[in-house]
Symmetry: C2
Amino acid sequence: MSDALPPGSAIGILGGGQLGRMLALAAARLGLKVHIYEPAAAPAGDVAWRLTTASYDDEAALRAFAESVDVVTFEFENVPAAALDLIESLRPIRPNRRALATSQDRLSEKEFLQGIGLTVAPFAPVSSRHGLDAALATVGAPAILKTRRLGYDGKGQARLASAADADAAWQAMAGADAILEGFVEFTTEVSVIAARGIDGAVAAYDPGENVHEDGILRTTTVPATLSLSLAADAVLLAGRILNALDYVGVLGVELFVTPRGLVVNEIAPRVHNSGHWTQTGCIIDQFEQHIRAVAGWPLGDGSRHSDVVMENLIGEDMARVPPLAASGAALHLYGKAEVRPGRKTGHVNRITGPAR
Amino acid sequence: MSDALPPGSAIGILGGGQLGRMLALAAARLGLKVHIYEPAAAPAGDVAWRLTTASYDDEAALRAFAESVDVVTFEFENVPAAALDLIESLRPIRPNRRALATSQDRLSEKEFLQGIGLTVAPFAPVSSRHGLDAALATVGAPAILKTRRLGYDGKGQARLASAADADAAWQAMAGADAILEGFVEFTTEVSVIAARGIDGAVAAYDPGENVHEDGILRTTTVPATLSLSLAADAVLLAGRILNALDYVGVLGVELFVTPRGLVVNEIAPRVHNSGHWTQTGCIIDQFEQHIRAVAGWPLGDGSRHSDVVMENLIGEDMARVPPLAASGAALHLYGKAEVRPGRKTGHVNRITGPAR
């Protein structure tokens, strides 16, 4: 642990949502302090050593934040580059800027993944209405047009059943650079949550099987319905991504399972919703694994002791809290003051048996 | 959950040590806020919504603290009665004052336990040097003289090998009222961590087997070496204590295992060091169970999925953190700024297999 931050050190986290909150709880278990930086309301602030409420262009606040901590990480990918430049001049950012830049741009991400030999959906860049026609000629229809940056949970996306939808789809991009992606015929969607330590060690959790509703993750089930060889492929390709990016921390990889093997849907350079089951199924969860990595500690044992189903609580699901609290499941609530449709407010982990 | 505090409610905790810290982490998982009240340095403050640093005789601070929360609990038993009176005039205190008063005084505790039909070590009150002679005549030697109040981890205690040690033992009490306890011949020491909800429901964790060194808990192992009938007795007597005290929250019961059955050593009206293994061995740990109870929520599922050994880190054990971090165990550090001999600074939970 020669590179390790000693207990009592402080970790800065950009973003103060539920992922930051659960990272803060994990850091606390290890005797580390957390400083949250968040322009908006920050559920993570209630469990953090310090909270800075300031915009990402407030240089004085960014400087004071960086100087108060030993290392900086993030739970939110869309921090402006100028803010990161300032922080990086003062403290290390883990995972590194390249990992962040790669995943911030859907086009760069696809090109990177293809470049290291992984399979992705057919894609083509689109930066004009005319370009969309050209892209459709390459990719075919049906397809999905997505902004290159800033999209999540189905926002900034438009489906094209045929070329007739091109006008509406292009308008939905509001002039932003976009990428057209072909559909992939898949049987299931799985994800791998993997971590890489500062020493290059890699650890991956068992793949989980995801079910989405309205573009939002609904459940993750471990173990996934997956052959042993595909499960091994999933873990190996996550390791390839981590190594290629010289990554430090936890990364989420979403995969389509197809008759011709695994297709990488997208990567997230952070702890991931589809890894929340690790809180109940493993000795060391994804949040602690990420904190260990960014603090320069050895990765922990992420082996799975139980089968788990994780279910997200979204919007009006908060009304189900009383019965869920009585159900014997592990309930996690994020302390969000406001409930809105489509907003994740918690999740539930149910153990379904000892690990198969 | 008609009596339940809704998510977003605030729980006040008297005491800001590691127990308060781990209670705060558990409350955060349930979307509840925590306000810590602590006169000294407070490791729990780093993970709390609010921290009040004030003495227990600061009426304005106590009032503001109580008014900021919905319910008050404690991780530290020796809060002055006047402070509790003030708080109780403003907010409910859970567990109740009677439970606290009973366990704050070793004599009341023994009399209470005996009164509900449980077996305790032979004892006699001592409030003078002369009274010690009388107590020795009843209890016999060897014996141990303890202050009635404020003792923990072997402090405020003096052993008497024979009546010849009476002068020194009495002097060690520094004039405080005391209790003389006879030794109990026991094979092992176990403890039961049990909880009672606001609805009267009782849940107990499996008994753990404790090993002490120099009067401080060193390890707790689950399952304990205990016959099934004694394990059932342990759980039943914990339930009897909880019901007799109309208790709400988690209680620790330390028991001696003797050839003639279980002898109650002492009770602690709070989460307990010998219950830290539940963080790694159960879906719902003792900290969340306590928070659920004091918040009026249903108790959670405390069933054990794994065998665990919990080891305390004490004083210079902090030097072992680097190898422990790499050992595959679950490490818990308390964020204490200062390491002192005999001071608990963390613990390690090792899974030794699926639950037997």
